[in-house]
Amino acid sequence: MDREKAIDEAKFSFGELREALVERHSEETQQKLERGRVAIAGLGGLGSNVAIALTRIGVGHLHLLDFDRVDLTNLNRQQYFLDQVGRYKTEALSETLQRINPYLDIRLDTVKIIDENIEELFQEDEIVCEAFDVPEYKAMLVSGILEHFPEKKLIAASGLAGYESSNLIRTRRVSKNFYLCGDEVTVSTYGKGLMAPRAALCATHEANMITRLLLGEEDV
C-alpha cells in the first residue's frame, strides 16, 4: 500500500494525530522527534520492533533497509503477520507502520548492505540502528558506519537470544557516538533460540537510546 492511499484511508487527519502525540509528549518534544532521521538496518526481531516504537512516538523520518522476505519462522519474534509471509520485509513493515501513522516519511531500501554501498546508503541519516542477525554483518556495518560517518550516532546490538535474565541486557556507550545494547554473550543454542520477549527487550534498549539521542540525551 502506498503512502497516499494510506493517508486517504486514514480515519484521522495529520492534525488530529499530531495533537494526540503532543498531548502525550509536549510540543517541544514532538518537534524534536519529528525532525529525527533514523536508519534501521535489518528488519528482523530487532529492527521491526525498533521501527514500531519509533513510529508510535512520531519520529519524522525512518529509513528501513532489508533485502529479505518474511518467513514463517520469523513470526516467533518479528512484527509481521501470517498474511505477510513471502513478502519483502521493507514493504510488509511499512504497511504496518502506516496503520499506526501514515503521515511519517518512510524510505525503503530493499537491498543487501555490503561494504561497498554503506557510504551511499546512509548519507541522509543522522542516527543508524544496526539490527542485523548475522555477527559478521553486524561487524561489517558497525565498522563501515564508524569509518565513513564518524559524526553519526550508531546504536548496535549483540546478545539477545534465549530466555536468560532480562537484567543482563543493557546499553553501554562504547565510544563517543557508538552505543551497544544486549548482553554481548548469549548466542542461539538448541532449545534457547531467538524468542520474542528477549529480542523485543534488546530492541527496546535500542529504540530508547535512539529516543534519548533525538531528545538531546547522550548518556546511556
Partner: protein, 64 residues
C-alpha cells in the same frame, strides 16, 4: 595497553591481527576502535600495536 577498559601488557611487537588471533577473537565478527578511531578491517594485518594504545574491541554474537 588498555583493552576494553582493562590494562593489559603488550607481550611483544605485534600487529592487530596477530593480537586478535592470539586472544581468540574471530576477526570477521570484530569491530575495533584504536585510540578513539575505528580501525578498518583491511588494516588489521599491517597495523602494529603500541604500548600506549587504547583499544575497544567489540566482538559481535549472532541474533536479531
Amino acid at each position: 595497553m588498555i583493552v576494553n577498559g582493562v590494562e593489559k601488557p603488550l607481550p611483544r611487537p605485534m600487529t592487530v591481527q596477530e593480537y586478535l588471533e592470539e586472544n581468540g577473537y574471530q576477526i570477521a565478527r570484530v569491530a575495533m576502535e584504536r585510540n578513539g578511531s575505528i580501525l578498518p578491517k583491511a588494516s588489521f594485518a599491517e597495523t602494529m600495536l603500541e604500548d600506549g594504545d587504547t583499544l575497544e574491541i567489540v566482538s559481535f554474537v549472532g541474533g536479531g
